[in-house]
């Protein structure tokens, strides 16, 4: 593609080595639904919708999570390539295991069951499709796989056998259609002990499994329907720890126009033209911090080492974590994924990293200001408030300073506590420690070996499927409430103590 553009610009001057044969070695995974035409016969529209949903919610994200590339989805199947055979097989296992869960609530004749084949081979990539023997073998493996099973070729087996602790059952050499040489085939057993079971008493196991399935499936279906209708009625109840009375009350979330001297001219932004907000957005209260140097980290935990000097540029940070009121303004604008229930002055919870990113993206767009998530270094700098002690008030723990587990003397505090309930740190910031866990921009690194020293977000060479959370929560102990304490969580997963605060570049 890039080559073609260059041709247009500079003419064919021959300085671009043309990618003549875009060949590469890849782990190819082919999957298809067993009995697809039968399913379509029973319920055409329903099956189609379910398959599309499975592709969107399960197949595509799972391939992406395992660093694969989806080549295409056909009516009843998919084809993807991976650089790593281990990741390809893992991806197959996740898809198969997830399908067990999805089918559990349905009657057997509606089960969608994939057969999966994985092969290692040379492929030619052209126009977004792939070709070659390697692809054909993957497709043949899939064709001979039992429904719900993963069959891999000998080439894949050699690569994964010592890396993935699975059972592998050799099925010997198989002649596959239109391929001259026989292919060595292995069946993957995510659970090695299943190999033994499968051999010993198949009949008894089948009988038992059949009965249990019947009960579980019928019960499950009933329960699933019930839960479904229930969850539709109840809407979203995020923080299960708060009193049920609060949760049930769905907050209308009015955008309060009070005290907004620095409200921007929101209508100037083209993005909200089609949806002019009736009232100006009330921005979260920000505290601007001077730049400075500080020693980041501590020797209290291996993840906090080594202590290193970081230079922070001036920036602003939210005085409090983002509240339910502030969050719901974004939800009302249809820019955030869900409406949160609970007291408006409480920090919003059950937020994953993507949710937090959506919020700052929206806020930056409607205000025209550089709102963003803080970096991990900025967060710690702000939490320390100019101190280098274990806590911002000193090295000794004191009760009633932070909202952590067994840290507040007053009994039966409603959680999460509303913002500003406890003392601010020397920078005037509340709940930098305890309260709600707070997402920052950085990807997870297990320690500070190689961390940047300029206060920027550390994204390179990290595990970006996990992002850093700071502060600890009301359910964690005092150790987690230290400014240096750090932890991580899956970026795509919500958890009831996770919230965030925002930052603003000048």
């Amino acid at each position: 593609m890039r080559g073609e553009i260059r041709h247009i610009h500079s003419g064919n001057d021959g300085d671009t080595p043309h990618e003549a044969t875009p060949r590469r070695l890849a782990a190819i995974i082919a999957g298809d639904i067993s009995g697809y035409s039968r399913l379509m016969q029973i319920d055409e529209e329903g099956t189609y919708a379910r398959v599309k949903r499975i592709e969107r919610d399960l197949v595509e994200p799972t391939i992406a999570e395992h660093h694969g590339r989806l080549i295409k989805t056909t009516g009843d199947g998919f084809l993807a390539i991976f650089d790593s055979p281990v990741e390809a097989v893992r991806c197959g296992i996740v898809i198969q295991q997830s399908m067990v869960g999805r089918n559990a609530s349905l009657p057997r004749q509606h089960w969608i069951v994939y057969r999966i084949g994985v092969n290692l081979g040379d492929v030619i990539i052209e126009d977004g499709d792939i070709y070659g023997d390697g692809v054909n073998v993957a497709a043949r493996l899939e064709g001979i796989a039992q429904p719900g099973q993963i069959y891999i070729s000998g080439g894949i087996y050699e690569q994964v056998k010592h890396k993935l602790v699975c059972g592998y059952q050799s099925l010997g050499d198989r002649q596959v259609k239109n391929i001259t040489d026989p292919v060595r085939v292995y069946r993957v057993l995510p659970d090695p002990s299943a190999l033994m079971e499968g051999r010993i008493r198949p009949v008894i196991a089948l009988l038992i499994a059949g009965t249990v399935c019947l009960l579980a499936v019928a019960g499950g279906a009933f329960w699933y329907l019930w839960i479904r209708s229930d969850s539709h009625m109840a809407g979203r109840t995020p923080a299960p720890v708060s009193a049920p009375a609060e949760v049930a009350k769905v907050t209308p979330a009015p955008v309060v126009p009070q005290a907004a001297p620095k409200t921007p001219a929101t209508t100037a932004t083209p993005a909200i033209k089609q949806q002019p907000s009736p009232q100006p957005i009330r921005e979260p209260e920000m505290i601007s911090l001077p730049g400075g140097n500080f020693a980041m980290g501590s020797n209290d935990d291996i993840s906090e080492k080594p202590v290193h000097q970081v230079a922070i540029k001036p920036f602003s940070i939210g005085k409090h974590p983002v509240t339910i009121r502030e969050w719901n303004a974004c939800a009302d604008a249809k820019a955030c994924g869900f409406t949160a229930a609970g007291k408006e002055d409480a920090p919003v919870t059950d937020i994953n990293w993507n949710d937090a990113k959506q919020f700052v993206t929206w806020l930056a767009q409607v205000t025209g200001k550089k709102y963003r998530l803080p970096t991990e270094a900025e967060w710690e700098y702000a939490a320390r408030g100019g101190t280098q002690t274990k806590y911002w008030w000193g090295d000794q723990f004191q009760s009633d300073m932070v909202n952590c587990k067994n840290c507040i003397a007053a009994a039966a505090v409603e959680q999460p506590m509303k913002i500003g309930s406890l003392k601010a740190n020397p920078f005037g910031l509340h709940d930098m420690g305890g309260g709600v866990d707070q997402w920052v921009e950085d990807c997870w690194h297990k320690n500070y070996q190689g961390a940047p020293s300029d206060g920027s977000a550390w994204v390179a060479d990290g595990d970006c499927s996990s992002r850093v959370i700071r502060s600890g929560s009301w359910r964690n102990d005092a150790r987690s409430a230290r400014p240096a304490s750090r932890d991580r969580y899956d970026a795509v997963v919500r958890y009831p103590t996770h919230g965030f605060r925002i930052a603003l570049s000048p």
């Binding site: 869960g101 659970d191 600890g472 964690n476």
Partner: protein, 141 residues
């Protein structure tokens, strides 16, 4: 026989629906959670891959409300009893696998450590009854 089956079925149905009314998400009756690796008593050098085994239930993403499916949590050196009325805690000794992971790279300081798996529902609550593995002990050299 048929009648007994029907009675058993309806009993299961009503039990399941009541369980849903109460606290926990119902677990599959014969759900079995265990460590594929390491096994109890394993001596390990350095970091290792822990692999999670689950029978008669499925693994799914946190947030997904599919019946008979949940996601893994690995408890390291945890002695506090599990509270079925609270979400499984999240900290350095309660690792979450809400993206549907069935294995994890674990690094522990040298010495004896206990490991235990707990299956969580869409909202990170333990199932009813809780689906937990045997608590195993491993030694890191």
């Amino acid at each position: 026989m048929e009648i007994i089956k029907v009675i058993a079925l309806s009993a299961t149905l009503s039990l399941l629906s009541f369980a849903a009314h109460a606290q926990g998400t119902p677990a599959a009756k014969d759900a079995y959670l265990y460590f594929v690796w390491p096994q109890d008593g394993t001596v390990i050098k350095g970091a290792f891959w822990a692999r999670f085994g689950l029978r008669n239930m499925g693994v799914t993403h946190a947030g997904d409300n599919f019946a008979n499916a949940g996601h893994h949590h690995l408890l390291i050196d945890v002695n506090d009893p599990l509270d079925p009325k609270e979400p499984i805690p999240q900290d350095k000794s309660h690792l979450h696998f809400g993206a549907g992971q069935t294995e994890a790279r674990i690094e522990l300081p040298p010495g004896k450590h206990t490991l235990q798996l707990v299956l969580g529902d869409a909202k990170h609550y333990p199932f009813d009854p809780p689906v937990v593995s045997k608590k195993i002990t491993v030694t890191i050299k």
